[in-house]
């Protein structure tokens, strides 16, 4: 299969997705996905991970099950999701209607020196998600495909999965809060109000 070169810009993609987030809860995988969602506008309902590689989709699952009326968006990297491929199966079994997993697939480990990942070498993440039981899963290469996928990410019955092929262009660092307890408490207070301190 011939390789198709990614053309989309990750910052623009994430900004477009989050412009329509409404009251959605957003979890970001470590590294660039965190900078991307923060660049789109800091929000207390963002949970940015600075570690726990491979765990982003599972954080999203726990959150989606706890908050069935809220949309939960997991925005992560191809390297990050490759470390937790089993979680696709676990999500598939649970069938959360309100969860979307969105991979900024630059086909590289950007954070660690831009080594190629398995997705550059033929591994099809959307195919794996589909086979694991996601109700909708696709690979997005073009602006037109992105336009079609954005409403699905926000509204279609989940679990929904999109691997969005983005360039390896790195954007300026826009760093979120780092301290774990601050991130956690800010999120819980915004979501749960006084119950956050029970």
């Amino acid at each position: 299969m011939k390789h198709r070169k990614p053309v989309l810009d990750r910052r623009q993609v994430v900004a477009e997705i989050l412009k329509r987030r409404g009251d959605a809860l957003v979890v970001a995988g470590l590294g660039a996905p965190c900078w991307d969602i923060t660049a789109a506008g800091d929000n207390p309902l963002n949970f940015c991970t600075w570690g726990g590689m491979g765990g982003a989709a599972m954080i999203g699952l726990g959150m989606a099950l706890a908050q069935p009326r809220r949309r939960v968006l997991v925005i992560t990297g191809d390297g990050e999701i490759l470390m937790g491929l089993g979680s696709l199966a676990t999500v598939g079994v649970q069938q959360p209607r309100n969860l979307a997993v969105i991979v900024m697939d630059n086909e590289h480990y950007g954070e660690t020196g831009m080594q190629v990942t398995h997705t550059r070498l033929g591994v099809d993440l959307a195919g794996m998600a589909k086979a694991a039981g996601f109700r909708a899963a696709g690979t997005v290469y073009s602006q037109a495909q992105l336009a079609a996928w954005i409403p699905r990410l926000h509204r279609q019955r989940g679990p929904v999965f999109a691997a969005i092929k983005v360039t390896t262009e790195t954007a300026p660092l826009v760093l979120p809060i780092r301290e774990g307890p601050a991130l956690k408490q800010r999120f819980r207070e915004a979501l749960l109000g006084a119950r956050a301190f029970e």
């Binding site: 726990g52 765990g55 599972m58 954080i59 099950l65 089993g86 676990t90 774990g180």
Partner: protein, 200 residues
């Protein structure tokens, strides 16, 4: 708190025909101890909604009860670290979760526990021990020996229950400690309690 049936289980362990099956003490599929049923009640009382697990035969009965309970969501995992990350999401979303695993699975959780420690997310792990008491399978021993030290190294409070009659009390207290103080607490349920697996 010790019930009659628990006492009866312990008595059974000491009977001669049990001793004949050396080195085995008991096995969940051959006797049915009451502590898993009582643990299920503790999880209900403490409002645990998401129950994640990779099966161990020591947890078989509890998993059955959880799967039959409509107030709880049973979440089978492909690897134990998924349950650690799940606990973070559940807590952020306002629900409590608990992770059921065997001692080997603790090894799969290590890096993910860093997130729990850094974010001060409450986590209750119920770990059934393998490889420590009358074990037959030598491959279980290394991780059994490393279970408590590696949990401690990741900032998890470790408590052990080596007698059937103390399991429920220890788990109830561990759950309160975890959720009242926002910490990770693991209860190691000894192989003496769950029984060594028979290979015959």
């Amino acid at each position: 708190m010790t019930t009659q049936s628990e006492k009866a289980d312990n008595m059974k362990i000491a009977t001669p025909e049990r001793k004949n099956r050396s080195p085995v003490t008991s096995h969940p599929s051959r006797s049915s101890p009451s502590w898993p049923d009582q643990l299920h009640r503790v999880l209900t009382d403490q409002r645990m909604r998401q129950v994640a697990y990779v099966p161990d035969s020591g947890h078989a009965r509890l998993i059955e009860l959880v799967r039959a309970d409509r107030q709880m969501r049973a979440i089978p995992l492909t690897t134990e670290e998924e349950g650690v990350a799940l606990a973070v999401g559940a807590w952020l979303g306002g629900e409590r979760s608990v992770l059921l695993l065997q001692s080997s699975g603790v090894g799969n959780c290590i890096n993910m526990l860093g997130m729990i420690q850094e974010c001060r997310v409450p986590l209750l792990m119920l770990v059934t021990m393998r490889g420590e008491w009358g074990e037959f399978n030598p491959w279980q021993v290394p991780m059994a020996q490393a279970t408590a030290p590696s949990l401690a190294a990741m900032g998890v409070v470790v408590q052990t229950a080596d007698r059937a009659e103390e399991v429920v009390e220890i788990v109830a207290a561990a759950g309160r400690l975890a959720f009242n103080t926002c910490r990770a607490v693991a209860v190691l349920i000894g192989q003496r309690v769950v029984g060594a697996k028979q290979f015959k």
